[in-house]
C-alpha cells in the first residue's frame, strides 16, 4: 500500500519535473526571442492548472497516507500554486499575461520561480524514491 502511494507520487513528481523544465525552456525561449510573448503565454497558461492539480494530488496523497513531514513539505508549494492562480486579476489572460510579462521584471521572476520549483521537485523525487524503496523493502 505504502509502496503504491510512493510510486504514484513518484510518477506525479516526474510529471511535475517535466513541467518545470518545460516552463523553463519556454520562458528562456521568450527571453531569447525565439517565440513571441503571446505564444509563450498561451503555451504556459495551459499548463498552470495541470501543475496545480499535480501538486495538490501529491499533497493529498501524503495527507491521506499520513506522511506528515512530506505533506508539510508539499503544502506550501500547493498553496502557492493555488494562490497564484486565484490572484490573477480579471483583466489578465492568466498567470502568464503577454502584455505584462516583459514589464517590471516579470519574466525574470517567473523564470526564478520555475527554477526553484525544479529544484524542489527534484528534491521530492529523491525523497519519494527513497521512501518507495524503503516501503518496498519493508513489505
Amino acid at each position: 500500500m505504502e509502496a503504491a502511494v510512493f510510486i504514484l507520487s513518484l510518477v506525479d513528481c516526474c510529471a511535475l519535473i517535466f513541467l518545470s523544465v518545460y516552463f523553463i525552456i519556454t520562458l528562456s525561449d521568450l527571453e531569447c526571442d525565439y517565440i513571441n510573448a503571446r505564444a509563450c503565454c498561451s503555451k504556459l497558461n495551459k499548463w498552470v492548472i495541470p501543475e496545480m492539480v499535480g501538486q495538490c494530488l501529491s499533497t493529498m496523497l501524503m495527507l491521506v497516507s499520513m506522511h506528515w513531514f512530506i505533506f508539510l513539505l508539499n503544502l506550501p508549494v500547493a498553496v502557492w500554486n493555488i494562490y497564484r492562480y486565484a490572484k490573477v486579476p480579471m483583466g489578465n489572460m492568466g498567470v502568464f499575461d503577454p502584455t505584462e510579462i516583459h514589464n517590471r521584471g516579470q519574466l525574470k521572476s517567473h523564470m526564478k520561480e520555475a527554477m526553484i520549483k525544479l529544484g524542489y521537485h527534484l528534491l521530492c523525487f529523491f525523497i519519494y524514491l527513497y521512501s518507495m524503496i524503503l516501503a518496498l523493502i519493508n513489505d
Binding site: D33, N36, M90, R104, Q106, K108
Partner: protein, 1173 residues
C-alpha cells in the same frame, strides 16, 4: 548612395506633398440630393457566401512582419554573403535594383557617381570647424592651426586609467599624439584637453539649432553653400543638399580623409581623429575589436582608391527588427529603481566617502548660495583648483548657451572629476521652506547633458528623446543610492520641421547588435567603425565611403547618418515582409439611441466630409464603415452602386462579414458613395429606439474586415457595451467617489478586449477609441483595446451637442487633427542601449512583442513612450553611453521608412554628478507612469505613497550623501527644487487625487493620458502654466515670423497670485482657462473680449473675438503661439466667478490647500519631517 531630401515634413521623400496633404486625385464631388437609402434589411445572406472565409491573412504572429522565418525577405541570416560587393547579385544588398517596387537608387560604381549637391542646411553646425568661411578645400587640405588643439575628452589625462586601454587600439605611442597609423596632415601641437580652439570656433549656436536649419558653420562638410532653399535632390542617390552649387570635386587625395574628420571632434585635433565617441574598449572580451595598425597605415598610405575593393565579404545580416536574432539586451532586469515597488527600502546608506564627498563639502556655504545660474566658471575651492590645475581653463571656453540651465557642456571627464565642473547651479542648495518663488519665469528647458560640445551639438533633441538622469550612474548601486528612477521618455514620431531623409540601398548597421550607424560611433580608421552600443568593430561598406554631401570619397564620418542624431531612412525591401499595404481606415460607429441623443454623428460625419481629402494615403487608400447597436450594420460601398447599401447582421454571437469584398472600398473610386453615406448617416438612425450596444461583436467584425490588410479602426462608443461578447457591467458606485478609501476597478473587468487587442496587434490593426458618454463606460476595460493595439483613447465626458458646446468644439478639433495627422502603419520600435544597460519596463500604448521590440500597428505623431532601465553591468571605463530608438513604419504613401533617434549621455560615478544631471520633469513624468502601473496592480494609495516616498527618498539621499553641511530646512539641489511641487501636483492630479469626487472614467482617462502623452503635454496636465495676460507688453517678446509674441512670466499655481483686477490664462494642456477677475481692467474687457463690463462677459465664450486693437492682437498672438506648440487644439474657456468651469480651474491651483489635500507648504513640512526622521 543616398538621396536626402530635407523635407519640411517627414512623410514623404523628395518634396512631394506631405503625407497628410490632400489626396492626389480629388474626385469631383457630385452630391446627389436626397439619396434615399434602400434600407434593405437583408436577412437572406446565404451564410455560405457570407461566411466565406476572409482572405487568409498572414498568420497571427508568425507571419507578422519581421518574423525571421518568412520568406519574403532575402535578409535571412543564413548566408554570409558578401553582399556589399558591387559586383554580382548574391544578396539583396546589392546596390543593384532592389527587389521591391521601390525605385531604389541604382547602385553605381562608386567612383562614377555624379557629383551631388553640397551643404546640408539642416545639419547641425559643427562649430568645431575652425573657419566658418565657406570653402571646403582649404579646410580639407590642411586644417588651420588653431583648429588643431581641441578638446577631446578622450585624451584627457585626467583619468588615465580608463583611458589607457582605449589607446591600445590606435597604437598611439603617446596618449596625446595622433596615432601613428594615421597619416595625419600637419597638425599643430596637440594641446591637451584644454581647448583654446574654442576661441576660434564659431560661437556655439543654441542647442536648438540641431533641428533648425543651422547657420553655415558647417564648413568641413563641403564647400560654400549657404543653406539655400530646399530643392529636390538632383539624382536618385546622393545626399543632395538643397540649393547648392556643386562644389568643385575634390580630388580624393589620400590624405584628405584625415582632415575631413573635422566634424568629429572639434577641429581635427589631438586625439586620433578616428576615435570619436568611443568609450574606451571594455576590455579583452572584445576579441573582434583588434586593432589593425598596420592595415590602417596601409590604407592611409595614400591608397584610398585601392581600398575600394570590397574588403570583407561578411555582411551577414541578422534580421532587421525581427525577434529571433539579436534580442537586444538580454534578460530582463530586476527593477532597478523602485520607489514604486519598494518604498523606503532602507535608508540610503551614506555614500562611501566618494569623491563628491571630498569636494562638495569643501565649498563654503556662501559660495553655494551666491553662485548664479549659468555660472560655469565660478570660483572653485582652492583645494579643487589645485586638483584641477591642468584643466583650469577648461570651463571657460565652454560658453554655456544662454538659457541652458543644466550642467554646462563640459567634457564628461571633467564632470567625472567632480562638482566644480558640473555646474554649481544645478547643485546649488535650495532651502525649499524658505524660498518661495522657485518657479522659473519661463517654461523649464530640459537640462543639457554634460557632454563635449561637439557631441552635444549633434545629440538628439530632448523633446524627442530624453532621459530622467542626464548623467548615467556607473553602477546599479550608485543608482539605487540616488533613489531616482532611471528611464527614457520618447516622442519618436513627433512632427519635425527638419528631418534628414536618406535613401540608401544599404543601411549601415552593427552586425552584432543591429544598431544603426549614428553620430556617436567611432571610426577606427577609414574602413571600420566601432559600434557604440556593443563595441563590435564593423566594416564600413563600400558605398558608405562615398559622401554625397561633399561628393567626396573616403569620408564615411561625414555622411548624414553620422551627422544627425535623428534621421530617417527609406528602407529597402529587406525591411518588409509583405508589400506595403494601402492605408485602410475603418470607422465603427455607435448608433444606439443613446448615441443618437448625443448628436455626435453629425459632428463626425461633417468632420470627415470636410477632411476626407486630407486623410493621409495615396491612390490605394481604403475606407469602410460599420455601425452597430444591438445588431451590426455593414455598408456596401462598391463602385457601381447608386447608393450605399446597408447590410444588417443580427447574429452577433457568431459574427460574419456579409460581403467581404465590398465593405472596404477605395476612397478615390468610391468617394461619392462615401460622401452620400456620411451625409445620410446622421438622419438614418434618428428614430432608433434600440438602446443596447453590442460593441464586442462590432469590434470582432471590424477586426475580421481589417485583418487581411491591417489598418486603423476608429471606434466611437457612447455607452457601456451590454450585449453579446465583451458585455460589461457598471462597476462604479457614484456615492463612493469621494469617500472611498481606495479606488477600486482601475483594472479591466474582462480580458476580452485585451485578447482582441492582441489579435489586432498581430494583424497590424490599431484601434482608436472615442468615448463620448455621460455615464460610466468602464474605460478601464474598454481602454485595453487601444492600449495594446497602439491606438489612442479620446474621452469626452458628458458629451452632448446642445448641452455641452465646449465638448463639441473639442471633439471637432480633435477629430480634425485625428483625421489629418500623419500616420505610420505596421510599425515596430526597438530601443537599444549600450551594453550594460537594460530596459525592464515599458509605458505607453503598444504590445511588447519581445524583450525590446514594441509592436505598433499604427504610430501617430502624438504618441509618447517611456521606459525604465536598470544597470545590469557596471559601466566602468565608459565615458558615454548611447540609446537608440529605431521606428520602422510604412508611411501612408506606402513607403517603408525607418526613423532613428540616438541619444548620447555621459557616465558619472559620483552621486553629486547624478543629482546635478537630474531632469526633474522627466523624473516626474516617469514617476507618473510608474504610479499609474502601481495603482492598477496594487492600489491607488500605494501609488500615492510611492510618489511621496520618491520625493522623500531622493531628497534624503541628497542630504545624506551629497550635502555634508547640514543646514536646517528642506534642502534640495537647484535642479530638483521643483520636484516636491511636481509630486504634489501629481497627487492632486485627476489620476491620483483622493477625497475629491472624481468619476472613475475621468480618472482612468487621466491615467491613460499620463502614460500616453509625450512629456511636454503630460507636464502641462500635471502642472499647468498660469500667466497674467491683462497687461501683456512687448517687452521681452519673441518675434516669430513677424508676429510679436509677448512672453508673460509663469506664475505659481496659487490663488494668492490671482487678483481681481486682472485676467489670467491657465494653460492645462488640452484646455485653457481664461480667468477674469471681478474688477478686471475695463480696458482689457473692451479691447480683448469686446464686452463693456464684467457682467456682460458671455458664459459660453470659447474664442476671443478678433478685435483690431493692440491688446487683442497681443493676447491672441500669445494664445495662438501656445496652441501652435502642440499638435492638438486646446479649447479656451473663459471663466467668471459663477462659471461652471470655475471648479476645474480652481482644482488646478495645486499650491493651495483643499479640504482633502495639503498645501504646498504643508507638503514640504511633511517631507521635511519624514526626511529628518
Amino acid at each position: 548612395m543616398s538621396t536626402a531630401g530635407f523635407n519640411s515634413q517627414n512623410g514623404t521623400g523628395q518634396g512631394q506633398a506631405y503625407a497628410n496633404g490632400p489626396s492626389q486625385n480629388p474626385v469631383a464631388l457630385q452630391q446627389l440630393p436626397g439619396v434615399s437609402y434602400g434600407m434593405t434589411h437583408q436577412p437572406n445572406y446565404s451564410p455560405m457566401q457570407a461566411k466565406a472565409p476572409a482572405p487568409p491573412g498572414p498568420g497571427l504572429y508568425p507571419s507578422g512582419p519581421y518574423q525571421p522565418v518568412p520568406p519574403v525577405s532575402s535578409y535571412q541570416p543564413v548566408p554570409p554573403v558578401s553582399s556589399y560587393q558591387p559586383v554580382p547579385p548574391v544578396s539583396s544588398y546589392q546596390p543593384g535594383p532592389p527587389l521591391t517596387s521601390y525605385p531604389a537608387s541604382p547602385g553605381q560604381p562608386l567612383l562614377t557617381r555624379p557629383p551631388m549637391g553640397g551643404l546640408p542646411s539642416h545639419t547641425p553646425p559643427q562649430s568645431a570647424s575652425p573657419s566658418p568661411g565657406p570653402r571646403l578645400p582649404p579646410a580639407q587640405a590642411t586644417p588651420p592651426p588653431p583648429s588643431v588643439s581641441s578638446s577631446s575628452y578622450y585624451q584627457n589625462p585626467q583619468q588615465p586609467q580608463p583611458m589607457a586601454p582605449s589607446w591600445q587600439y590606435n597604437t598611439a605611442p603617446p596618449p596625446m599624439g595622433p596615432p601613428a597609423s594615421m597619416s595625419t596632415p600637419p597638425r599643430g601641437p596637440v594641446a591637451n584637453h584644454v581647448n583654446p580652439a574654442v576661441s576660434s570656433t564659431a560661437p556655439p549656436p543654441p542647442s536648438s539649432a540641431v533641428y533648425t536649419s543651422a547657420p553655415p558653420a558647417h564648413v568641413s562638410h563641403s564647400a560654400t553653400q549657404p543653406p539655400g532653399p530646399r530643392m529636390p535632390p538632383t539624382s536618385a542617390h546622393g545626399y543632395t543638399q538643397p540649393g547648392t552649387v556643386p562644389p568643385p570635386m575634390n580630388p580624393m587625395a589620400p590624405h584628405t580623409y584625415q582632415p575631413s574628420r573635422a566634424p568629429y571632434g572639434p577641429p581635427p585635433t589631438g586625439p586620433p581623429p578616428t576615435m570619436k565617441a568611443t568609450p574606451p574598449p571594455t576590455g579583452p572580451p572584445m576579441g573582434n575589436a583588434t586593432p589593425p595598425p598596420p592595415k590602417a597605415v596601409a590604407q592611409c598610405g595614400g591608397v584610398v582608391n585601392s581600398t575600394l575593393s570590397p574588403t570583407e565579404p561578411d555582411c551577414q545580416e541578422g534580421d532587421i527588427e525581427c525577434p529571433g536574432t539579436v534580442a537586444g539586451n538580454g534578460p530582463q532586469a530586476p527593477n532597478s529603481y523602485n520607489h514604486v515597488d519598494n518604498k523606503m527600502a532602507g535608508l540610503p546608506q551614506p555614500g562611501p566617502p566618494g569623491r563628491h564627498l571630498g569636494h562638495y563639502p569643501s565649498l563654503p556655504p556662501g559660495y553655494q548660495n551666491t553662485s548664479t545660474p549659468h555660472n560655469t566658471t565660478s570660483p572653485m575651492h582652492p583645494a579643487m583648483q589645485a586638483a584641477t590645475q591642468p584643466y583650469t581653463q577648461a570651463p571657460q571656453p565652454y560658453q554655456q548657451p544662454p538659457g541652458g540651465p543644466g550642467p554646462a557642456q563640459l567634457s564628461p571627464s571633467l564632470a567625472a572629476m567632480s562638482l566644480q565642473s558640473s555646474t554649481p547651479e544645478a547643485l546649488r542648495v535650495v532651502n525649499l521652506l524658505q524660498e518661495r518663488n522657485l518657479l522659473p519665469p519661463r517654461p523649464i528647458p530640459a537640462p543639457t547633458p554634460c557632454l563635449p560640445q561637439d557631441l552635444q551639438k549633434i545629440n538628439c533633441n530632448p523633446e524627442v528623446f530624453r532621459s530622467t538622469l542626464t548623467s548615467i550612474p556607473q553602477t546599479q548601486s550608485l543608482l539605487n543610492k540616488a533613489k531616482m528612477p532611471l528611464g527614457l521618455l520618447l516622442h519618436p514620431f513627433k512632427d519635425l520641421s527638419q528631418l534628414p531623409v536618406v535613401t540608401s540601398s544599404t543601411i549601415v548597421r552593427c552586425r552584432s547588435c543591429r544598431t544603426y550607424i549614428n553620430p556617436f560611433v567611432s571610426f577606427l580608421d577609414q574602413r571600420r567603425w566601432k559600434c557604440n552600443l556593443c563595441y563590435r568593430v564593423n566594416d564600413v561598406p563600400e558605398e558608405f565611403m562615398y559622401n554625397p554631401v561633399s561628393r567626396s570619397y573616403g569620408e564615411p564620418h561625414k555622411r548624414p547618418e553620422v551627422q544627425n542624431a535623428t534621421i530617417e531612412f527609406i528602407a529597402p525591401s529587406e525591411y518588409m515582409l509583405r508589400p506595403p499595404q494601402p492605408a485602410v481606415y475603418l470607422f465603427v460607429l455607435d448608433v444606439s439611441h443613446n448615441a443618437v441623443e448625443t448628436g455626435y454623428l453629425n459632428v463626425f460625419c461633417q468632420s470627415l466630409l470636410d477632411n476626407i481629402n486630407a486623410l493621409p494615403g495615396d491612390s490605394r487608400t481604403k475606407v469602410g464603415f460599420i455601425t452597430f447597436d444591438s445588431t451590426i450594420h455593414f455598408y456596401n460601398l462598391q463602385e457601381g452602386l447608386s447608393q450605399p447599401q446597408m447590410l444588417i447582421v443580427s447574429d452577433i454571437e457568431d459574427i460574419f462579414l456579409p460581403t467581404p469584398d465590398s465593405l472596404l472600398v477605395n476612397l478615390n473610386e468610391c468617394k461619392e458613395l462615401v460622401q452620400d453615406l456620411l451625409k445620410s448617416l446622421p438622419t438614418l438612425f434618428e428614430k432608433t429606439m434600440e438602446t443596447q450596444s453590442a460593441l464586442g461583436s462590432a469590434l470582432q467584425a471590424a477586426f475580421k474586415l481589417l485583418s487581411p490588410t491591417g489598418g486603423r479602426m476608429s471606434v466611437f462608443q457612447t455607452q457601456l457595451p451590454n450585449l453579446g461578447v465583451g458585455a460589461l457591467q457598471s462597476r462604479e458606485d457614484p456615492n463612493q467617489r469621494a469617500s472611498a478609501k481606495d479606488i477600486q476597478h482601475l483594472s479591466p473587468a474582462t480580458d476580452f478586449y485585451k485578447k482582441l487587442a492582441l489579435d489586432c496587434s498581430g494583424q497590424q490593426v490599431a484601434v482608436d477609441l472615442f468615448l463620448l458618454s455621460s455615464q460610466y463606460c468602464d474605460l478601464a476595460s474598454l481602454g485595453c483595446i487601444s492600449r495594446y493595439s497602439a491606438g489612442s483613447v479620446y474621452y469626452y465626458p458628458s458629451y452632448h451637442h446642445q448641452h455641452n458646446p465646449a465638448q463639441v468644439e473639442c471633439f471637432q478639433k480633435d477629430l480634425k487633427r485625428y483625421i489629418t495627422r500623419k500616420i505610420g502603419f505596421e510599425a515596430v520600435m526597438r530601443i537599444r542601449c549600450t551594453k550594460g544597460l537594460s530596459i525592464h519596463t515599458f509605458h505607453g500604448n503598444f504590445f511588447v512583442r519581445s524583450t525590446d521590440l514594441l509592436s505598433l500597428p499604427n504610430v501617430n505623431p502624438d504618441a509618447g513612450f517611456a521606459v525604465q532601465m536598470s544597470i545590469e553591468e557596471n559601466l566602468d571605463d565608459m565615458q558615454v553611453v548611447s540609446f537608440q530608438a529605431a521606428l520602422l513604419y510604412t508611411s501612408s504613401k506606402g513607403e517603408r521608412r525607418i526613423r532613428v533617434h540616438t541619444l548620447c549621455l555621459p557616465v558619472v560615478n559620483s552621486l553629486s554628478d547624478i543629482f546635478a544631471g537630474a531632469d526633474v520633469q522627466a523624473i516626474s513624468g516617469l514617476l507618473a507612469c510608474m504610479a499609474v502601473d502601481r495603482s492598477v496592480t496594487a492600489s491607488l494609495s500605494d501609488a500615492r505613497d510611492a510618489m511621496t516616498n520618491a520625493a522623500i527618498d531622493s531628497l534624503t539621499s541628497y542630504r545624506q550623501s551629497v550635502l555634508t553641511i547640514q543646514q536646517p530646512g528642506l534642502l534640495a539641489p537647484a535642479c530638483l527644487r521643483l520636484f516636491p511641487l511636481f509630486i504634489l501636483a501629481l497627487l492632486k492630479q485627476k489620476s491620483f487625487r483622493t477625497g475629491t469626487s472624481t468619476r472613475l472614467d475621468d480618472r482612468v482617462f487621466a491615467m491613460c493620458q499620463l502614460k500616453y502623452q509625450p512629456l511636454a503635454y503630460a507636464m502641462l496636465m500635471i502642472h499647468p502654466s498660469l500667466y497674467r495676460i491683462d497687461d501683456l507688453t512687448d517687452e521681452g517678446a519673441l518675434n516669430i515670423s513677424e508676429r510679436t509674441i509677448p512672453q508673460p512670466i509663469l506664475l505659481q499655481l496659487s490663488v494668492e497670485k490671482l487678483s481681481r483686477e486682472a485676467a489670467f490664462l491657465m494653460d492645462a494642456g488640452t484646455v485653457m482657462y481664461l480667468w477674469i477677475g471681478r474688477n478686471c481692467n475695463p480696458n482689457f474687457l473692451s479691447q480683448v473680449l469686446g464686452v463693456p463690463s464684467y457682467a456682460s462677459v458671455p458664459d459660453n465664450l470659447f474664442m476671443l473675438p478678433e478685435l483690431d486693437t493692440a491688446e487683442s492682437q497681443r493676447t491672441r498672438a500669445f494664445i495662438g503661439w501656445l496652441r501652435d506648440q502642440r499638435p492638438f487644439f486646446p479649447s479656451l474657456r473663459v471663466i467668471r466667478d459663477e462659471s461652471q468651469w470655475k471648479a476645474s480651474f480652481m482644482q488646478n491651483m495645486i499650491e493651495d490647500r483643499t479640504e482633502s489635500a495639503l498645501s504646498y507648504y504643508e507638503f514640504l513640512l511633511h517631507l521635511q519631517q519624514q526626511i529628518s526622521k
